[in-house]
Symmetry: D2
Subunit: 289 residues, 4 copies
Amino acid sequence: MANGRRGASAAELEARLTSDARHVVKAVVVVHNETSTGVTSRLSELRRVMNRLRHPALLIVDAISSLGSIDYRMDEWEVDVTVCGSQKGLMVPPGLGFNAVSEKALAANRNAKLPRSYWDWQDMLENNQRGFFPYTPATNLLFGLREALKVMKEEGLENIFRRHIRHGQATRAAVRAWGLEIVCEEPLEYSHSMTAVFTPEGHDADRLRKIILQNFDMSLGAGLGKLAGRAFRVGHLGSFNDLMLAGTLSGVEMGLRLAGIPHKEGGVMAALDSLTPAAKVIEPAKVAR
Amino acid sequence: MANGRRGASAAELEARLTSDARHVVKAVVVVHNETSTGVTSRLSELRRVMNRLRHPALLIVDAISSLGSIDYRMDEWEVDVTVCGSQKGLMVPPGLGFNAVSEKALAANRNAKLPRSYWDWQDMLENNQRGFFPYTPATNLLFGLREALKVMKEEGLENIFRRHIRHGQATRAAVRAWGLEIVCEEPLEYSHSMTAVFTPEGHDADRLRKIILQNFDMSLGAGLGKLAGRAFRVGHLGSFNDLMLAGTLSGVEMGLRLAGIPHKEGGVMAALDSLTPAAKVIEPAKVAR
Amino acid sequence: MANGRRGASAAELEARLTSDARHVVKAVVVVHNETSTGVTSRLSELRRVMNRLRHPALLIVDAISSLGSIDYRMDEWEVDVTVCGSQKGLMVPPGLGFNAVSEKALAANRNAKLPRSYWDWQDMLENNQRGFFPYTPATNLLFGLREALKVMKEEGLENIFRRHIRHGQATRAAVRAWGLEIVCEEPLEYSHSMTAVFTPEGHDADRLRKIILQNFDMSLGAGLGKLAGRAFRVGHLGSFNDLMLAGTLSGVEMGLRLAGIPHKEGGVMAALDSLTPAAKVIEPAKVAR
Amino acid sequence: MANGRRGASAAELEARLTSDARHVVKAVVVVHNETSTGVTSRLSELRRVMNRLRHPALLIVDAISSLGSIDYRMDEWEVDVTVCGSQKGLMVPPGLGFNAVSEKALAANRNAKLPRSYWDWQDMLENNQRGFFPYTPATNLLFGLREALKVMKEEGLENIFRRHIRHGQATRAAVRAWGLEIVCEEPLEYSHSMTAVFTPEGHDADRLRKIILQNFDMSLGAGLGKLAGRAFRVGHLGSFNDLMLAGTLSGVEMGLRLAGIPHKEGGVMAALDSLTPAAKVIEPAKVAR
C-alpha cells in the first residue's frame, strides 16, 4: 500500500477495510521499513485503524531492514506475523530467516486449507520445544546470531536505536547541504537505517554509483523499480559508527564532484555538525579501561 | 642523528665522519621514516656524504614504517642492512622481522668478534637455502605475508607509493585548514605514511586522543618522548583508502570540537579538496567487472 | 517406498504404476541415499520401470546425502528434479539448498495450478540469467561453495567416489569383525557415505552413543524412527580421509568395550586390512613436491 | 649433556661441577624435553646435584616442548630461566617466545658485562609493569594465547598432564606391539609429548615418512642429527585426543605395511587396549548437557 515516497497510508487502509464488510481480506501485509525508498511506515496507526474497524485480518509485517535498527513493537502494535532476516540490523551474514508469530496467526495457520509445507510452522514449533529443528539448521549462522545478540545486548537496544536516529539525521543534513532531494516525503516516516536520495533531473544515479565504486571502492544501493537511475541509497545500519558514516558521506560528496553532478559543497561538514552537538562528550576521567 | 622535527642531517653526518679519520665509526644507523615525528630522512644525501668521504662505515637503515609505503631503494642508496617488520606497510599482523643484508655487511658479520647469536645471520642463510629455518618460523604470519605480497603486486608498488603520497598531502591539507602545526619542519621530509600534529600550547594532546577514542572508537598515536602530551599522530598507511582517511580526519575534527581545542573548521573539506582533483576519474565505461 | 532395510523397490513401483492407468500419480519421489538407514536406492532400475510402463510421472530425487559422495547421474537416469543441500558431500556449512530441474519439470511447474511461491522456480531462473537472485542470497555460503567445488575438482569426482567406496567397505569390514549387524540388507544398496549398525538385542544404542560422546568427544548419528535406540550411524563422507575413519572406528570399538556391549575385538584392524591392500602405494620417488 | 638416548646425566653433571672449584661455569643449560629423541630429563636430580655441591651456576631450562604438556616445576626445581615458545603444549601458532626469570638470574643479568640487547630483560620488565611492551608485540598471537590459557584452565593442568601420560603410554604400547624400538632407553625419561621410534636396520625411516605422507596425508617428524633416516617421531601433545592418536597410529601401522618394513601387526589394537582400561567410563547419567 506504499505509494513510493510515503509509507502505507492509514486512510487508504481504512477505506479498504471499511468496504470489506464480509472480511474477505485475511491479512494486512506491510513492510515496516522500505529499503528501496528509505520510508518507515507508521505501524501503530495502521493497527489503530484495524482495531477501530474491528477487522479480524492478520497484521503481517516485513521487519527485515528495521529489526535491530529501528524501534519495533510486535506486542504493542499487535502484529501477528513478523518476518525478518539475519543480514541487516542483526549484523549476521545472509541466510537466516525468522518468523515471530502470534497466537491468532498460529490458530489461522492450523485452520488454513491451502496445501503448504514451507509455511507450516507446526513442525518447527514441535521440534524447537525439544531443542531441535525439523531439518538441518544453518548452524554457523546461528553461532553468528548468538554472538550478534550478545554484542547488541552490550550496546543496549535503546542506544542502538539512538545511534541509528543520529546517523539518519546526519545523513539527511548532508543531503540537504548538497541541495539534493530525499526520496521520503514525510519527515515522520524518515528511515533511520537507510536514506534514498534523488540525483537532479538528467543526472544518472547509476553513473554516479559506478564512479563512486570505481574511485572509492564503495558500493551504494541502486534505485529500485521506478527509482532506477534516478536515486541512490545510503545504508547506515548495523555495525556502523560515526566515522564510517563520515567516510561514506565523503565518498558521496567526492563522487558528486567527479560525476559533475550539480550540488553545493559541505554535506560532510553538515553531517559532522549534526553528529557532534548530539555527541555527549565522554570525558577521559569517567572512563575505566 | 635526527633532531626531532627534521630528518638525519647530512651536514652533521659530514662533520662527524670527517673527524673520524681512523674509522672508529663502524656504522651509520638511520631510521628512514621516524614514526614518532612523521619525518622521513633523505637517505640518498647521507649516502652521498659517506661516499664522498670514502668512509667505510656500514649504512644500516630501519625501514619499519616506510617499507611498502614509501619509495625505498636499498641498492641505489647502497644500504648495507635494512631492518623491517611485518606490521606496517606490509599489512601483516606484528610478529615478523626482516633483515636485508649487503655482501659488505655479511663480510663484516663474519669477521666480527662480539659474541652473538641473535645477530648471526649465517645459520639463517644456510637453512634458507634448503627451504628451512634454523628454528620454528611463525608460519601463520608467513602465509599472511605471502597473501599481502600478492595484494601489493596487484595494486602495484608505484600505485601504492602514489596512494600514500596523496593521503599524506590530504592529511596535511586538513591540518593546515585547522590552523594546527605539523611536527615535521621540512617539506622535503614529510612522511607519506603518518603525520604528527601539535596541539596548541596549553592543550593536552592526550586528553584529545582520549576524547576521540571514547566518542569515536578511534585510537590515534600518542606523542612520544619530547612530544608527549604536545602532539598526536595520524597514521595513513597500509590497507587504507580515501574514505578511511576521510573518516579518520572527521574523527579528529569532531574531537577537536568536543575537546574545546581552538581550531578552524573545515579540515575534512580541505582533505576532500586535496583528494578529489588528484583523483583521475575512472569512467564507468572503462571498467571491466 | 523404502521398507527400512532396503531401498525403494522396483517391483513395488511397477505394481503401483501399473495400477495407475489414469496417471493420477504425478511424481515418483525417492531419496537416493537414505541417511537414517545407510541404504542407497538403485535409481536406474526405478527409471527403467517408469520408462517401460511409459508412465509420465516426474522422477524427483533427494540427493542430499549422496551428491558429491556417491555417483549420481541426473541425465542418464532422466531425473526431473534433484533436491540437494550444501552440508554433506559438498562440505559447505548447512544453509544452502539446490534444485536441478529438467525441462519436463519446468513445464509441469509452469502449468501447475497450486498456489505457491517457495516452489516457483521462474523468479529464480529469470534473475539468475542476469547474475542476480530474486532475494538476498547467503553470500558467505556461496563463497564457501565456490571453494568447495574447487577442492572437489582438484581431487576429481572419480577419485572422490572411489574414496567413499573404500571407506564404506572398510567400515563394513569393521562392523562384521565386531560381529554386529549392518542395517542395510542388500549389498547392492550399501551406502558409501554412511553406515547404520544395529546394537545387539537388549543393548541401548543411545547409551553407547552417549558413552562415546563423553569419553571420546565423538558424536555418532542416532537411530531414527523405528531404529531409535536400536542402531547407531557412522558417517564417512565429505572432507574425510583414511586416518579420520580409523580414528572414528577406534572410537566405536573403545565405546563398545566401555559400554559392555558384546562384540569381537579387532574391527579397527579389519578396517585397516580393508584400506591398505586397496591403497596403491604412492612411492616417494613419484611425488613432485 | 644428553647422550642421545638418555636425558642429561646427574652423574656427569656432578663430575663437571665438582671439578669446577673456581666456579667458571656460569650456567647449567638443559633441555627439559628433547624433541629429537623423546627423552625428558629429570631436572629435580640435576638441581639436587647443584645444591649438594653448592655450585652457584644458574639453571637454565628449555621447556619449549614440555610446558603445558608435562609437569614442570620452576619454583620447586629452582630453575633460574625457563625458555618457552607458544607453538607446542600451549597450542598457539608459532611466533611467541617466553622467558620466566628468577631473581638470581635477574641479578646476574644486571651485573653481566657482555654487550647485549636481545637478552636484556630490563626494558621488557619496565614496560610490562605499565601494561606495555618496549616494541610492537605480536598482538594476534597474544589473543590466541589468552584463549589457549582459558581452554587449558577449563581442562585443568592435572588433567592435561594425565592425558599426555596416557597418550605416551598408548603410543609406546603400539611401538612394542609392532616390535619396533623406542629411541628413549630409560623408562623414567620417556617423553609424554612425543615418541621417537627406530625403523629396523636397513629400512629408511624417511622413505616410511614419505609413504605415510603421500598415502595418508600425515606428516611425521623426521629423525634429526644422528637419527636422520633411522628414526621417525610421533607427536602426541597439545590439542589432541584419543581418536586423533588412534588415527595417527593407524597411519603408522598402514605405512609400515605399505613400506614393507618388517613388523608385527596389531599396534593400533595395543594402543586401544592401553587407552580403554585407563578410561574411567563417564556414564551418560552423570553428564549434564
